[in-house]
Symmetry: C2
Subunit: 129 residues, 2 copies
DNA sequence: CCAATAATGATAATGATTATCGTTATTGAT
DNA sequence: ATCAATAACGATAATCATTATCATTATTGG
């Protein structure tokens, strides 16, 4: 039986009101201001738990795992320049359909990462020249 | 100026004649049989180098990074049951196009991971019942 | 209020990867 | 062929992200 925990609620809430897909470490340092004795282990523990419950999704990257409170299947755009991660508003089922047509049986889900230089970075690079 | 290295050639060659997308550790233990004093650091070092040169691609997963000598843009299927990684023969440019239509500028590339239970595992699960 | 136990915080341990550094191998010039 | 310059190596320490352990604290239902 799962019990209430202030820490878990805070983690869930903190993630819900952000759109920058923070890492466990980022969430930890932010939450530490309101919950000073918070442990990094509690953040990892709860993010894992919430992921199992389908309340958050983990975004696997080459570095630290990032988290997203938006559980609707969607893709992400990774800026090669500033490292920001932006939600992509494209239909995930269309991508899944492409995978399903590839001749392999059993394709159930997909996760797509798109790469490039975001418009902000593109702008500042242009200004430097 | 880059110099010849037997180790790098062996790593590249070992990866080229396989289709199971091994990790650095897997390549290391296999290559150790022919190059007994090979160091794991050399494997990591060269895989990173080869990736920079565009001769191999790294496949980012939630566990250890896997490598692929097939540098033609393509997707992978991850079996949830046995953990195998299989090449998906679908057109990557079609997926890229979906991402490009999502309203964000600067989308240059993409990497899609598909998930499910492979036909081998699906078969053995069926046989157990 | 109390017993049962889920969840915590602190921290040790793990797994993957990278950095360091003294030694070895490759290279181009003599 | 020899030599100096330096790329690459092997061994291993260090780092980073994450998980496991465990004694303590908080929540819950009776």
């Amino acid at each position: 039986m799962t019990k209430f925990s202030r820490q878990r609620e805070a983690i869930k809430n903190q993630l819900s009101c952000r759109y920058d897909h923070p890492t466990a470490e980022t969430l930890y340092s932010e939450l530490k201001e309101t919950i000073p004795n918070l442990s990094i282990a509690t953040v990892y523990r709860n993010l894992k738990q919430l992921e199992e419950w389908g309340e958050v999704v983990a975004i696997t990257t080459d570095g630290a795992t990032r988290y997203d409170a938006n559980t609707h299947p969607h893709s992400h755009f990774f800026c090669r320049s500033c490292g920001s991660v932006i939600d992509l508003d494209c239909d995930n089922s269309d991508i899944l359909e492409i995978g399903r047509r590839a001749g392999i049986h059993g394709v159930e889900g997909c996760s797509s990462n798109f790469y490039g230089v975001c418009s902000d970075c593109c702008q500042s690079i242009r200004n430097e020249i």
